[in-house]
């Protein structure tokens, strides 16, 4: 006999589990089908959480490496990273958080079905592996997420040529590491393994690092990476990668038209993530796809009534849909509330913050200067470097800046881009500013506590209106 639920969610990643909890809070009976042995999906198991844990290890090492500057005496011998201990601590954090999701499921009386789901006609989901059964659902939410994807010229072998899924588990620090792709994943692993001691080369097809960020941020990161001894190759196309028992040979076309071969112990492919839809039976169910992603409307309805989709697996058909945990969870909440008949409003994707935890950190929201000009705004900008701030001097973190992009006509804050200490935290103020349609003048009139890193935001606003106070 088929078990019947108000809502069946496929996938227990950040989008899926948040949607499930919200639906349960609104009184719906909910089941979640998950093929992994733990809840939490990419974010908790392979993505955000483990990588940021590794980055904290890298940061701890950085502070210890500079112990002498801080007046801390440590015994002779250079500080080194102990990978088994690093992984043990990281895995403990991941385990604690995935069990936390299990607890939330119990608390909200959500049924966790262990297995692989397949759509089985109107209002039905077959669980084809694991706890085989058929579930009946008044509403289905597909939240199957994404997986690392390579480029045609490179085949992943998971030992020498790896993805982020393996990069979080490397037993040893590679002597040399080449990273293909300089999005968030690429630059974060560059920071981690450079700090851990690898010789790191990062290769980007486009002319600059972190191509989605403001150009000024890209330039600052490249400057910092070079200072840290990371080799940066932008405008470079990898044509072939050959793995052998001793390492990987990477052939590439450089921007000056030459061919170049780089040898490394490990090649990390960080060129993006593709949708996970295999075996779901989407075509049979009549769901419209676009470039392999599930096409949804602005409230995440697929082409089939009663089936919604959220998170990394979707496209809204309006350009690149950000594959970020906080976007998926918001989409999950909106979808659950819509299904429960609550009033909902579409998400404004111009207000999605981006946080990249490389060293120095990047936090940004809204339009870059170039994008704002493309949209036809009469743009003015204000930039303030962290290095001037007393707070940054104390922390020994003098890199980076805050840059505000504003509309000259109505003084609207269009985007805020920061690179430097605590940027991933500082961006919160900017997200609220955009959400509440703040003007630069309001930011100027907002008191920024002293001494804090956040003073850079207030000063950048001053700069946008003419001149910063402390410059």
């Amino acid at each position: 006999m088929a078990k019947s639920f108000d809502v069946v969610v496929i996938g227990a990643g950040t989008g899926g589990y948040v949607a499930a909890i919200r639906a349960a809070q609104l009184g719906k009976t909910v089941a979640v089908v998950e093929k992994q042995s733990a809840l939490g999906g990419t974010c908790l198991i392979w993505g955000c959480i483990p990588t940021k844990a590794l980055l904290e290890h890298a940061h701890a090492l950085k502070v210890i490496q500079h112990a002498a500057e801080w007046g801390v005496t440590i015994p002779p011998g250079s500080p080194a990273i102990n990978m088994p201990q690093v992984h043990a601590r990281k895995d403990k954090i991941v385990g604690g958080l995935t069990r936390g999701v299990e607890f939330l499921f119990k608390k909200n009386k959500i049924t966790w079905v262990k297995g692989t789901a397949r759509l089985a006609g109107s209002g039905k989901v077959d669980v084809v592996e694991g706890d085989k059964q058929t579930l009946e659902a008044r509403e289905i939410i597909i939240a199957t997420g994404s997986a690392p994807r390579s480029v045609p010229s490179v085949t992943i072998d998971h030992t020498r040529i790896i993805t982020s899924d393996e990069a979080i588990h490397l037993k040893e620090v590679p002597g040399s590491l080449v990273i293909l792709g300089s999005g968030a994943v690429g630059v974060e692993f560059a920071s981690i393994y450079r700090r851990f001691g690898s010789a790191v080369t990062i290769i980007e097809l486009l002319p600059r690092l972190v191509p989605v960020e403001d150009e000024a941020v890209s330039a600052e990161l490249e400057k910092s990476f070079k200072k840290q001894g990371i080799t940066v190759m932008t405008g470079t196309k990898v044509t072939r990668a050959t793995a052998s028992s001793s390492g990987v040979a990477i052939e590439a076309d450089t921007p000056d038209g030459k061919k170049s071969t780089i040898n490394a112990d490990v090649l990390l492919v960080a060129t993006g993530r593709g949708p996970v839809t295999t075996g779901l039976g989407l075509e049979e169910a009549g769901i419209t796809l676009e470039r392999g992603y599930i096409k949804v409307d602005e409230l995440y309805r697929t082409s089939v009534p009663g089936i919604s989709a959220i998170g990394d697996v979707i496209t809204l058909g309006t350009g690149v849909h950000p594959q970020l945990a906080h976007v998926s969870s918001m989409e999950g909440i909106i979808t659950a509330e819509r299904i429960a008949g609550q009033p909902v409003q579409p998400l404004n994707y111009d207000h999605v913050p981006g946080c990249t935890y490389c060293d120095p950190e990047i936090g940004s929201v809204g339009l870059t200067e170039a994008r704002a000009k493309e949209r036809g705004y009469d743009v003015r900008t204000g930039t303030f470097p962290f290095g001037v701030l007393g707070r940054a001097k104390m922390a020994g973190e003098s890199e980076g800046f805050v840059k505000i992009v504003a509309d000259k006509k109505y003084d609207e804050v269009l985007g805020v881009h920061m690179i430097g200490p605590r940027s991933t935290e500082l961006v919160a103020e900017a997200v609220l500013a955009l959400r509440l349609e703040c003007t630069v003048e309001e930011l100027i009139k907002t008191i920024h506590a002293h001494p804090t890193f956040s003073e850079a935001v207030g000063e950048a606003a001053h700069a946008a209106h003419g001149a910063a106070i402390h410059m």
Partner: protein
């Protein structure tokens, strides 16, 4: 210093008020905020508190008289002057000469003619909102900046953001529509025209009683007169049709019994009306045309659901409005209904609380009526009448069963709402009530 007591401005659209009753007599001591007199305006009846403590030294406007707002209706002597007053018990005549000079004479009330005062407020409901109102409209720093640069009144713009906040897109679209077609829908307060469609003569009193016949003649109260005008105007304005649905309240009754104690603990009573309101809100969202108004050749869709709840008073009827009823849950609706009903009966409603309804529910069933055929509350386009809720025999699965049942009637304006829509709306209400989701 003596304090003049003014006829209060009870709302932007209210030009005059009638003093129905003086609660204090000349010579009485009053505390600040103690009820002093009772007024009746075309919107609401209210008790007016004393603006200062002291002694009521003069009454300038007698009961039954109508005066313009801000007219001086009485004078209160300062507390320190109490000793100068005549001993309590012997009230001085209505014109105390000693304090007269400080009160401007030109605002004296005209001779009493309460039954003949023309309705001056017709057509004035679209008056420019005060600065206070525009500050209350939610917006953002950016919207205020755009408004300033373009000389736009934000209060005229419908807000699509959370809680009705006017967003950047709202104001830019508004400016576009202003400069584009020049014919802006949003600028006119909905219903302002409909309310003024020539209803000065309520159609009553055209047959006078024969002299000498055994009758007693009394002038209409202000409220009665307004109801009379409004009802006849509505009949003339709208093409009324009615649909009656028989609704099973057994599920609602079960939930009500289950939650009764819980709600009592929370300090409110869980009534059928709260369930009905919740179901209506949900149906209105599915059928926005039922939550609309007709204005000439335009349909005005109201984005907010403001539910009017008809409350019977001793001598009339008033329809206080639950604003943003769509943002309230069952508990919130229960509280709001109890609150406005209590305050309607104790004359504590503010004028703005009877404005801006988008749909009305009336409950003749409470007096035993099986169902009613209610008249639409203009400029709305529909009204729900709730018949008495009682156990009745009905057929369930080919057997006669006893169920808690009631007839619900939708009165609607066929100019805007067709029978199919009206009935679909009602079947949604019925469906919601019969399968009430008590989360």
């Amino acid at each position: 210093m003596p304090t003049p007591v003014l006829m209060p401005q009870m709302g932007e659209s209210i030009a005059e008020g009638t003093i129905v009753r003086w609660i204090k007599k000349v010579g009485d001591a009053v505390d600040r905020d103690e009820p002093l007199f009772e007024i009746s305006t075309d919107k609401v009846d209210a008790e007016i508190p004393a603006p200062a403590a002291g002694v009521l030294t003069e009454i300038k406007v007698n009961e039954g008289e109508t005066v313009a707002v801000n007219s001086v209706v009485a004078t209160i002597g300062a507390a320190s002057e109490i000793s100068k007053q005549e001993p309590l018990g012997s009230a001085p005549p209505p014109a105390a000469p000693s304090l007269d000079s400080v009160v401007p004479r030109d605002v004296d009330a005209p001779p009493a003619k309460p039954a003949a005062t023309p309705r001056k407020t017709n057509g004035r409901t679209a008056a420019k909102p005060s600065e206070d109102d525009s500050r209350k409209q939610r917006s953002s720093p950016l919207v205020r900046r755009i408004a300033r640069d373009n000389d736009v009144d934000i209060s005229q713009i419908h807000g699509s953001g959370l809680g009705g906040r006017v967003t950047k897109n709202d104001i830019l679209e508004y400016i576009d529509s202003e400069t584009g077609t020049g014919d802006s829908l949003g600028a006119e307060a909905p219903g302002a025209k409909a309310a003024g469609s020539g209803t000065r003569d309520a159609g009553l009193g055209n047959r006078t009683a024969d002299p000498g016949s055994r009758v007693e003649i009394k002038p209409l109260s202000v409220m009665r007169k307004k109801i009379a005008e409004h009802m006849v105007m509505s009949r003339r304005t709208s093409a009324h049709v009615h649909s009656v649905f028989h609704v099973n309240f057994s599920t609602v009754e079960r939930i009500r019994q289950q939650k009764k104690a819980e709600y009592e603990q929370l300090g409110t009573k869980l009534t059928y009306m709260a369930f009905i309101a919740k179901a209506v809100v949900s149906a209105l969202r599915r059928f926005p045309i039922v939550n609309a108004s007709l204005d000439g050749d335009n349909v005005i869709y109201k984005k907010d659901i403001n539910l009017g709840i008809a409350v019977a008073l001793e001598s009339g009827l008033i329809v206080p409005v639950i604003k943003h009823a769509d943002e309230k849950n069952l508990l919130g609706l229960s509280r709001a209904i109890a609150d406005i009903a209590t305050r309607a009966r104790s004359k504590q409603l503010k004028p703005e609380e009877v404005h801006d309804g988008t749909f009305t529910i009336t409950n003749p069933g409470q007096f035993g009526s099986q169902f009613g055929m209610p008249i639409i509350n203009q400029p709305q386009v529909a009204i729900l009448g709730v018949g008495t809720i009682e156990k009745r025999p009905i057929v369930v699965d080919d057997a006669i069963a006893i169920r808690t049942m009631a007839y619900l009637t939708l009165g609607y304006d066929h100019r805007l709402v067709d029978g199919a829509t009206g009935d679909q709306f009602m079947s949604e209400v019925k469906q919601q009530l019969e399968n009430f989701d008590a989360q």
